[in-house]
Homo-oligomer: 248 residues x 2
DNA sequence: CGTCGGCTTGATTGTGCTCAACCCGGGTGG
DNA sequence: CCACCCGGGTTGAGCACAATCAAGCCGACG
């Protein structure tokens, strides 16, 4: 079902950029050697379908580079993104025959893939993989539930602010900078994709982004480059606890 | 932090109503014997907090009977339910120190609890538990993502119809009846709790329930007893694929 | 009998959707 | 080289659906 993705050369797991964050992060060298034998890389161009809901699933794997989107579409065309897959995130469902959701490359994406059957055996034989996968799945579940609050209860402005805050936090986490002060990054999604993710229309996304700009909470260079002059005041707009919970 | 729940007498795992659906469903008799030693029962009355977001987590466990709700509250009081825990569902997070969400007893609830630390050891030593827990977590993740579509994209009427359809399907699954024709069940949630679950206000819930009644799609006995005269036509109102996906 | 909580119903408001025009930048072809 | 087009994005006007504010109903319970 995939439209001719390129296959990359084999490269060593030890050099992998997601070595310490993906499913394999807790593997010992000997376990890693096994994975090394099984893995294949594939890249997809922005906009390409990686798989369709209902497809037979032959592979599972990790996002090595780029951003993929999990989404669901109703018959009449309404669409909701249900997950954003960033580098180190796991793709696919051990123990399931068919894909539950569409997976689309939001930017150019590189995946590290394993055939499903051998990987399922690994899960049963290798606790370091099974435990890590459980942990990652629980984290994703928590993230999905946080997102439910956003979808069900937040205003359009809060949704946009929350989304930008998440991206900004991710940016600072990677570059190990402070969360306060200036943050700069590039939106990995189009306005339409943002709308699908946030449960809005693209017009509303555009309007609210403009509103945040007018309010001086963000600055734009072009359509995709965002600068946040003061992260704290953006957080104020998310509707979240800004003082980090637990008052007592 | 829990307000004096009652503790029940020890009873045998072999007789447990959720024996074949909970985390322990794939345990061998010897493994079950270990769990039998570790478990405690606790009951909570409808409305009682089972735990608060941020609490230290000492226990994990399964819902044996009744319905519990996972939810999140914003500072200004907006609330979103992020999960409904039905019998056999798992409560708690191995590998986490604190609870990510509030857990509230929606009806009277009985839990089968294990101290967290010993249970975590079991996960590492007992693949039949680890694998089952991973499977259940993946199912919950899929359910959460389905719910995101509902929260982000469905209309009030579709939300109510979807919710009722889920309850009805659950009812027929338990009694092994057909999914067509008449279904009867009792709502486990108040109008307010339904609103929190569906991302609506309680007034809108009330209005849409009345509207479905006026349209003849459901019948009410009292406030909580629902009869669905024709399940197929209720499904029509959910906005979901009614023909079960996969046309090709 | 009065009160209280859960629920229903009504009137009005407001946020975000719909429909529609327009802008902007990049690529193509005459 | 310019004209054109096309896709992604912005902006505007009007509308609709669900939220808000408010009153009243109903059954349980003291």
């Amino acid at each position: 079902m995939n439209t001719a993705p390129k296959t990359l050369a084999h490269s060593d797991c030890g050099d992998c950029p997601i070595r310490y964050r993906a499913v394999c992060s807790r593997c010992e060298p000997d376990e890693l050697a096994v994975l090394d034998q099984l893995k294949t890389y594939k890249t997809y161009e922005a906009g390409q379908m990686i798989c369709w809901a209902g497809d037979q699933l032959q592979f599972v794997g990790s996002v090595v580079d780029g951003v993929a989107a999990l989404s669901q579409t109703m018959e009449d065309g309404r669409r909701q993104m249900v997950g954003l897959l960033l580098p180190s995130d796991f793709v696919g469902r051990p123990g399931r025959e068919t894909a539950p959701f569409d997976v689309i490359a939001a930017t150019d994406v590189t995946l590290c893939l394993f055939r499903k059957a051998p990987f399922e055996e690994l899960i049963n034989s290798t606790p370091s993989i099974a435990t890590r996968l459980l942990e990652m799945t629980l984290d994703e579940l928590d993230a999905a539930r946080e997102w439910m609050l956003l979808l069900g209860r937040k205003t359009a402005r809060e949704k946009i602010a929350s989304f930008l805050a998440i991206l900004a936090r991710r940016e600072t986490a990677l570059s190990a900078g402070q969360t306060m002060g200036k943050v700069e990054f590039t939106l990995p999604l189009s306005r339409e994709a943002m709308a699908d993710y946030l449960g809005l229309t693209l017009e509303t996304v555009s309007r609210q982004v403009s509103a945040l700009k007018r309010a001086g909470l963000i600055e734009l260079q072009g359509k995709r480059k965002i600068t946040i002059p003061d992260f704290a005041s953006l957080l104020n707009e998310t509707g979240d606890d800004t003082d980090g919970g637990m008052p007592a």
